[in-house]
Assembly symmetry: C2
Homo-oligomer: 643 residues x 2
Amino acid sequence: MEKLELFPLKNTRLDDPFWNKYTHLVTKQIIPYQWEALNDRVSGAEPSHCISNFEVAADLKKGTFEGAVFQDTDVAKWLEAVAYSLSYEPDSALEENADEVIDLIGKAQQPDGYINTYFTILAPEHRWKNLREGHELYTAGHLLEAAVAYYKITGKDKFLNIMRKFADLICEVFHTKEYERAVPGHQEIEIGLIKLSEVTGDRKYMDMAKDFIDRRGTEPNYLVTEHMNPLWIDIFKDRNPFLPEYSQCHKPVRKQDTAEGHSVRATYMYCAMADLAAAYDDKELFAACERLWNNIVEKRMYITGGIGSSGAYERFTTDYDLPNDSGYCETCASIGLALFSRRMAQITRNGKYIDTMERALYNTVLAGIAMDGKSFFYVNPLEVWPGNCLDHTSMEHVKPVRQKWFGVACCPPNIARTLASLGEYVYFQKDGNLWINMFVSGQTSLSFEDGTMTIVQDTRFPFEGKVNLHITADRSSSSSIALHIPGYARNYKITVDSKDIQPEIEDGYAYFEGCFSDTEITVTFDMPAHFTYANPNVRADAGKVAIEKGPLVYCLEEIDNGRRLANIYIDTNAPLQEQYDDHLLGGTCTILAKGRRTSEGSGNDQSLYSGKPPSFEDTDLMFIPYCYWNNRTPGEMSVWVKY
Amino acid sequence: MEKLELFPLKNTRLDDPFWNKYTHLVTKQIIPYQWEALNDRVSGAEPSHCISNFEVAADLKKGTFEGAVFQDTDVAKWLEAVAYSLSYEPDSALEENADEVIDLIGKAQQPDGYINTYFTILAPEHRWKNLREGHELYTAGHLLEAAVAYYKITGKDKFLNIMRKFADLICEVFHTKEYERAVPGHQEIEIGLIKLSEVTGDRKYMDMAKDFIDRRGTEPNYLVTEHMNPLWIDIFKDRNPFLPEYSQCHKPVRKQDTAEGHSVRATYMYCAMADLAAAYDDKELFAACERLWNNIVEKRMYITGGIGSSGAYERFTTDYDLPNDSGYCETCASIGLALFSRRMAQITRNGKYIDTMERALYNTVLAGIAMDGKSFFYVNPLEVWPGNCLDHTSMEHVKPVRQKWFGVACCPPNIARTLASLGEYVYFQKDGNLWINMFVSGQTSLSFEDGTMTIVQDTRFPFEGKVNLHITADRSSSSSIALHIPGYARNYKITVDSKDIQPEIEDGYAYFEGCFSDTEITVTFDMPAHFTYANPNVRADAGKVAIEKGPLVYCLEEIDNGRRLANIYIDTNAPLQEQYDDHLLGGTCTILAKGRRTSEGSGNDQSLYSGKPPSFEDTDLMFIPYCYWNNRTPGEMSVWVKY
């Protein structure tokens, strides 16, 4: 198993009409806003205390720790997003800022390498004593990811060295007798260690990650018994018992067949499993990845790429249980699913993983952020009736409008780093060969010993099924270019330098060989709006259809279609009409349909139950992309519609 | 406002083929079982500690308090059920048992009259200091109800005197300066005090109840600020803030328009409000009762008479929010709704309240208990897919099978006392006149100064729309008999001594005048099985129908109809066929219907989403009464079915 490599972001300039709407928000809006938030300067918002915590831990000021136990990760995710953003929009003031934060992290590092402001300030003697809730390894993992990104893009190694020292400590501690069975409560350190190993070439970090994965869920189960240690401290004061499934330690990782528990923890673990399977050519571990990915995609994933059907415990539930109104679908979990799917594609070169990666990115991840970059959905429902999204009820996790940045915010910075690193999703490379996964306009180049290859991609995807690729290279070696053919593409036509060709297609990629000194590849395909039906085992979607066009899932909003969307029946025999509207939502393709709905009058009588069936009337329907919902007047929304 | 009176239970012998199935469980199964439970002698069940707590509080043995803060109410509800059961099945051993428990309660009473084993044993200095959570007044209310019932049926006044002494203390304490604004966190004391006032004729108890109601929700809001008292103790260790709506103290009671918060607390409060409105001829308070009742019945009640749409906080949510799978519908809340509706009927003589009372009793309350009396639903969903009723998810409050008696069990003893006091629902009386609310076979008699009237009711209701009433009286005065005409009855025909008559009908009651020395009244009516549609504002029921016959709501069960009930579409143009089955569920009318369903094969392919619509096939459907569900093989169940 040889993993395809990610593209160096610093050589990739995406400039795409669809994605620019969002990627520009990262530099213009999210990074500056979060910087203010980290420094507690956002009026009206709960203070984050992040920078202050590091200053206290570094003895630069007096005070105490404030915020959540994993508060440091906000700094880590900010630095990671900054690193990526510097690759496409250099900003010396921002970089200086980041360097100062890195200096501060260095000052807060303990002599033995340990970094964690909560434990350093509040409970130094309880280090590593509550791995279930303490989030020390989770926080370390995010700091490691940030350090690797910062090194790869800026070339500066200070942060990397700081974190390497911490990673050395982790490798030492977690091989002592006391911790030889210990695993993190919230997976993430594994990804960080793997990235560190890849960038430094030091295998011991990879080995540590593998040990964490291999120990997990084996008996005696460390996380289950950990609290018997007299130095254990109760951090969350949670009255609920610890649930092994919640942290995916209910059975050995290699024996797991179904996606269980907290969906973010799960997908982060699956990412590490995939990386490790490739690094160690571990077929058993890879088979577990395939089973888990299949279980998600075939039985536990919303059409939007959302995962996690239960608000309580933010978790997977059971096959085909996909309630549209009360599900969780955390933005971070869909990011995790995209990251896991990307790794599976890197290993297998199979385009089906890209289809799912796109499903998560184009729908749930984008829905997670408002088009002004100022508010965020943590939970991404597929059906909303604002009237019943009430605090202190079973629906309180579902918000009818996006929320401002919280004091502790996982999803917003996670969206930021995902958007800022979009180039890593668009292309893969290996040994001078190129894989094009997504249709995103922009220019990227790769340097080889014998020269350079430059690819200019030009497309109005996802609203048009046409992509122009202009590839130039000044090298003598031949290479292959693989172009992903999405599962939804129909009547695929490819021309190379204006000549129709029928390239070899393998696992969803079309392969081209050549020197590409100056080559135009044009791809056209149909991706008409169409109805999609759920498997009849999905009770929540019985009798309903969704509309998709390309990678985009569509939805009805009250502002376009009136209230009581549950009483609308779409006519699946009438054609769907696509209509591009330049002025709507920054320019979008809408889809018009015909249907019937209960007459407004028929609900006006006072009785709750009666023998009189409701009366119906014809209605025109307008669907917009799900990712754009709730950017106008708040109201009802529904992806699945009765037919 | 003059309230009709309940019938003396000791003169009422119900003997009805439909109800006997359940009422016999009370004496044969529930009361003996609970006695064992109270004494911690049920193997495999969590111990209740109830009797033991009283023994410790009475200094009869060493030990401490165990169980929930409101553990004493289990003893109270058991005594109340025993009292009612003695009225129709005298049992001297049981009565002796009850007398011993009453002696024990007396011994546990403190010198000043106080009774509560939790506070007496664990926290005497914190008496009355946490009314939000302490449940002292709630517990006192249940003990008062039991004492009044025991006195009325056995004529013994020991328990009544014990409780009167406690009530005197309550009246004193809650008129001191410190407590002059105090109200109970969980309403119930009001009902107890009102009953005590009615049986003793002492108005001060009624006044105390009225004060509790009038103080509630006024500023400064006692329950909201109570915890500032240094003697306040945190009993539930709940991390959630106190929610005034939860305890119906969000605004003055007279200003409340919508049913809010915990549905059991709410209905118990509404019962007291109705009683007080009648007792004080308080039209403003009564208007609030009407508004709240209307809000429930017109906007917040399931077709089964279930109330409380949210599992979290077991509470009302908002108008028309009635999710079928995730709602709460606690059995106790429907008992509360029946009690409230009964009081509204007593005050108004309007049969519409009886219709709702019946809806709650015949459906949710009966569904709450298994036909063997051994297990209970606390939550009564209208749609169940056992696969997703998982612990540690948002659905964990919904159980796919009835549960055994818990250590702390509110619903089972509440069902027991309700069934044992059924006679109080069937008849009302006033000044020698009689109101017949429900069709239940049996014999009852009323004594007057000038003689006695006996009524023999003979019916196979609710499976047949025919009732024979044989009334004999040896008195000279004329009286009126009012017979409830249910809202669902069609083609009502009445004969008096075989002569067709057209009696005066007023507010759902047919009125007859006469001496009734020997009179046969026969009533026949049609109550065909029919489709019922929900108001189109109820999103959860859009596109669905339910089937009702008389007071019974019907449902589909998997055992009769296969799995995937969500994929069934009923043909509302095909006739419904009623079929009585002697052998099914102890004898029941089933309803046969025609419909279509997705073919089983169409869900077998691996893909979760596809462009292929499911295929359909014709299917026969069989509905059973909702109250009988889950008495055979557990499986899916649904009340509302697509059409």
